[in-house]
C-alpha cells in the first residue's frame, strides 16, 4: 500500500509540474480611459462634478471613435487625406527604401526558417514562426492557394499584371511568398500587444507615464500625451519625426531607466513608433477636445474631429521644423583654444549657462529655483510637472546622446518642455561649437583607461 500511495503522490506531482509548464499567463486586456484631469478641467469651468463626469464620458466616446481601443485600434481617416490616399493606420506606408532594407535584414534572421522553406519551394511545409500568431494567420489567409498547392508557385500572382501587358514587374506566387516574410510589418493591434509586453509597465496604457513601475522612477517615464518629446532633432517643443522616436528606442536614454530595444527587429520597433504616436496623438486630442469643449459647453463629434485634425497638423509640420545643424566637427579635434573660448561663453552674459548649470557645471545654478506663494523656495517645474534638474555636465552622461550634433542641438534649440531654453541668437555657430567643446571637456577623466593584457 505504501508503495502504491507513493506512486500516486509521485504521479500527482509530475502532473502538477506538467500543468505548470502549460499555463501561459493571459495578459489582461488593455482599455483606454480618459485622464482624471479631463473631468477636473470641466469642473474648473464651473460644471457640477456629475455633469463634468458626463462630459468626460463624452470625451471618452469621441476618442473611441477617433482611435478605437487597444484591442481594436484604428485611426479615423480624415476626408482631407483621401485625395493623397493617406492612412496613418498603416505605418509601413511611411517607410523609405533604406528602412525597408533594414526591415528585410532583420526579418531574414527572424523568419529564417520560413524563408528557407519558401526559397526551396516548400510552401506547404513552411514552419509556424514562434510567437508571431497574427503573422501566421495572415500567411494562412493570403497564401492558402499556395499552401494547399492549388497553384503552381511559378504562376503569376492574380493581383500582379500580366507579363507583356505593361512595364510593371510581375510577381509569381513564389516571389510574393518570399516578399511576404521579408516585408513582415506589425499591424497596429500587434504593436499594441508588443507595447503591452515591453513598455506598458512604465509608460502606462494611455502613455501617461503612469505604469506601475514608472511611478517610482526618477526621471519619470515620458508622458506621451503632450506630444512633446525631449530627444528629437526638431526645434524644441515641436512634434518629433519617426526617426527621433526610433532612435530613442534603439539607443535608449542613457542615465535613465529607458533601455535600448535594439534587440527587437526593425519592423517591431517601427511598429512601436506607430503605437507611441497613436498614444501621443490621442492624448493631445484629448487635451484639445477638453479645452474646446470646456469653453463651448458641449462635446460634439465635429469638435472632436476638429481637434483631431489640428493635432495631426502639428505632427505633420515636424518635417518643416528640423533643428538644422551644420556639418559636425570631430570631437577629438577640438583644441584647447575652443575649450577656453567655450568656458568663457559658458560663464558669459550671452549664453548664461551658469545660471542653471552652476559655475562648475554641476547643475546647481540659482535659476532653477523660484518662490512659491508662501515665499518658500521650490524648484521650477517642467511641462510634465517634475522639478527641474539641469544636467550635471561633469558626469558625462547626456540623456539625449553625447554626439557633438546632439549637444549642438540641445544648446542651439533648447530642450522641449524643460527650462533649458534655445540659445541666444547672438551666439554664432562657432560659439555653440566652442560650448560643445567645453561641455565635452567637463566630463573629465570619468573612467580609467584600459588596454589589452593578453600577451601576443
Amino acid at each position: 500500500m505504501t508503495a502504491l500511495s507513493g506512486l500516486v503522490a509521485l504521479g500527482g506531482f509530475v502532473a502538477l509540474l506538467g500543468a505548470g509548464c502549460g499555463l501561459e499567463p493571459v495578459p489582461p486586456v488593455m482599455e483606454f480611459t480618459v485622464s482624471p484631469d479631463t473631468q477636473f478641467a470641466f469642473e474648473d469651468e464651473g460644471l457640477e462634478p456629475a455633469d463634468a463626469a458626463v462630459a468626460a464620458g463624452q470625451v471618452e466616446g469621441a476618442l473611441q471613435l477617433l482611435f478605437g481601443s487597444p484591442a481594436r485600434p484604428g485611426y479615423l481617416v480624415l476626408e482631407a487625406w483621401e485625395a493623397d490616399e493617406r492612412d496613418p493606420n498603416f505605418g509601413q506606408d511611411e517607410l523609405d527604401d533604406a528602412a525597408w532594407e533594414a526591415v528585410a535584414r532583420d526579418n531574414e534572421v527572424r523568419f529564417a526558417r520560413q524563408l528557407e522553406a519558401v526559397r526551396k519551394g516548400d510552401h506547404v511545409q513552411v514552419p509556424r514562426p514562434w510567437g508571431a500568431v497574427a503573422t501566421w494567420a495572415r500567411w494562412k489567409w493570403a497564401f492558402s492557394p499556395l499552401i494547399e498547392a492549388r497553384v503552381d508557385p511559378s504562376n503569376l500572382h492574380p493581383s500582379s499584371p500580366v507579363p507583356g501587358d505593361s512595364d510593371e514587374p510581375s510577381f509569381t506566387w513564389a516571389d510574393e511568398a518570399e516578399r511576404f516574410w521579408q516585408r513582415q510589418y506589425p499591424a497596429l493591434v500587434e504593436s499594441a500587444a508588443l507595447y503591452q509586453r515591453h513598455c506598458v509597465h512604465c509608460h502606462g496604457v494611455t502613455g501617461a507615464g503612469d505604469g506601475p513601475s514608472g511611478v517610482t522612477l526618477e526621471p519619470a517615464p515620458r508622458d506621451f500625451r503632450r506630444g512633446v518629446f525631449k530627444w528629437s532633432a526638431v526645434e524644441a517643443g515641436h512634434r518629433p519625426r519617426r526617426a527621433d522616436l526610433l532612435r530613442v528606442l534603439e539607443r535608449g536614454v542613457e542615465g535613465t531607466a529607458m533601455p535600448s530595444f535594439a534587440r527587437l527587429t526593425r519592423a517591431e520597433r517601427e511598429g512601436l513608433v506607430d503605437w507611441v504616436r497613436l498614444l501621443a496623438v490621442r492624448g493631445e486630442t484629448e487635451l484639445l477636445v477638453t479645452a474646446l469643449a470646456a469653453q463651448r459647453g458641449s462635446v460634439t463629434p465635429e469638435l472632436a474631429t476638429q481637434a483631431y485634425g489640428r493635432t495631426w497638423s502639428r505632427w505633420d509640420e515636424a518635417a518643416d521644423r528640423l533643428a538644422e545643424v551644420p556639418a559636425m566637427r570631430d570631437p577629438d579635434a577640438f583644441t584647447p583654444e575652443d575649450v577656453a573660448r567655450g568656458a568663457a561663453l559658458f560663464a558669459g552674459d550671452t549664453a548664461k549657462c551658469t545660471t542653471c548649470h552652476g559655475a562648475a557645471g554641476h547643475g546647481d545654478g540659482d535659476a532653477i529655483w523660484e518662490l512659491d506663494e508662501d515665499g518658500a523656495r521650490t524648484r521650477r517645474l517642467d511641462l510634465w510637472g517634475a522639478p527641474s534638474a539641469p544636467r550635471d555636465l561633469t558626469l558625462g552622461v547626456f540623456h539625449g546622446g553625447d554626439r557633438p550634433a546632439d549637444l549642438y542641438r540641445r544648446i542651439r534649440y533648447g530642450i522641449g518642455g524643460t527650462i533649458m531654453p534655445a540659445a541666444d541668437p547672438g551666439l554664432s555657430e562657432d560659439d555653440v561649437f566652442a560650448l560643445v567643446a567645453y561641455v565635452l571637456s567637463l566630463r573629465g577623466p570619468r573612467f580609467a583607461p584600459a588596454t589589452g593584457e593578453v600577451p601576443r
Binding site: V109, H198, A257, A327, R403, R443, P449
Partner: protein, 267 residues
C-alpha cells in the same frame, strides 16, 4: 533482489559515463543542450559538462534506485516495522570516500578545462588582442571600442548599445565594468560566463574559432550569437539581452568605421 539491483545500477551509470566520455563530441549531452560552440576550447567545456552529467546521473540512479528498492521492499513487510542497524565503519567510509574521489576528479578536470580556455587567447600566431570595453548597467550592455588612442574606457570610445561585433580567429579581450549592481556576461555559444562586480575591472579573453562558425561565414556573411545577463540584476534583468555579431576582418573594419562615423552624423 539486492543482488541484481546494485550491479544493474552500477552498470547503467558506468555505461552512461563511458558513453559521454567516448562518444563523439556532437553526440554528447553538452552539445545537445547548448547552442553550437564557436570558441577555442569550447569542446573541452562540453566534454566536462558531459562528464559531470554522467557522474551525477550515475549517483542519481544509484541513490534513487536504492531508495526505490528500500520502499518497495519495506512495503512487503506485514508487521510494518523496519529493521534497525547501528553504525557501520565500512559504510561510513564508502559514502565519505566516494564523493571525495568524485569531487577531486571534478576539481582536476575543471582546472584542466580552465587552463585550456585561459591559454587559448595567448596561443602563438594569433596576433594582438581585440579589446572591447563592456559597460554593464541596469538594464543594457554598452560596448566601447577604442577610438584613436587605442585604449578603451576613454572619452573617445565608439559606443554601441546591445550590439557586440567581434572578429574570428583573433583573441578578444573584454574589459568589463558594472555601473550599479552585479551583472554577468553570458554568451552560451562562447561557453563563457563571467560575473561583473562593480568597482573592479573584470577581464575575459577568448578566441572565436572560424572553423566552428556556420558555413557561409568565410564568404563574408556574419554569424550571430546570443548574449545575456546571467545574474538577476533588477526588474529589467530579462530585457538585458544583446547580440554578438561575428564579422570577417573587412566587414568588422567597415562596421567599426560606420559606428565611428555615426558620432559625426547630424541626424
Amino acid at each position: 533482489m539486492m543482488r541484481y539491483v546494485l550491479p544493474l545500477l552500477v552498470l547503467l551509470g558506468a555505461g552512461a559515463a563511458f558513453w559521454s566520455v567516448l562518444s563523439p563530441h556532437e553526440l554528447g549531452l553538452g552539445a545537445a543542450v547548448f547552442p553550437d560552440e564557436v570558441t577555442r576550447g569550447g569542446e573541452a567545456v562540453d566534454r566536462l559538462f558531459d562528464e559531470i552529467a554522467a557522474l551525477m546521473g550515475f549517483l542519481l540512479l544509484l541513490t534513487a534506485g536504492l531508495i526505490a528498492w528500500v520502499v518497495v521492499r519495506g512495503a512487503g513487510r506485514r508487521d510494518g516495522l523496519g529493521s534497525e542497524r547501528t553504525g557501520s565503519a565500512a559504510l561510513e567510509f564508502i559514502w565519505t570516500a566516494l564523493p571525495a574521489v568524485a569531487l577531486a576528479l571534478l576539481l582536476v578536470r575543471q582546472l584542466e578545462v580552465r587552463k585550456v580556455l585561459a591559454d587559448a587567447p595567448s596561443a602563438e600566431g594569433l596576433g594582438a588582442p581585440f579589446v572591447v570595453g563592456v559597460d554593464a548597467h541596469q538594464f543594457e550592455w554598452r560596448f566601447r571600442y577604442p577610438g584613436r588612442d587605442g585604449a578603451v574606457w576613454t572619452a573617445d570610445d565608439v559606443v554601441t548599445v546591445n550590439e557586440l561585433a567581434l572578429p574570428a580567429g583573433r583573441p578578444v579581450e573584454l574589459v568589463m565594468r558594472s555601473r550599479d549592481v552585479i551583472h554577468s556576461f553570458f554568451a552560451p555559444a562562447l561557453r563563457t560566463k563571467r560575473d561583473i562586480v562593480p568597482g573592479r575591472d573584470t577581464r575575459l579573453a577568448f578566441v572565436i574559432d572560424p572553423e566552428d562558425l556556420p558555413l557561409g561565414f568565410t564568404s563574408g556573411q556574419e554569424a550571430q550569437l546570443g548574449l545575456e545577463c546571467a545574474e538577476l540584476c533588477g526588474w529589467g534583468h530579462g530585457a538585458m539581452v544583446g547580440r554578438i555579431r561575428v564579422l570577417g576582418a573587412d566587414a568588422l573594419t567597415r562596421w567599426l568605421t560606420a559606428r565611428s562615423d555615426e558620432r559625426l552624423a547630424t541626424d
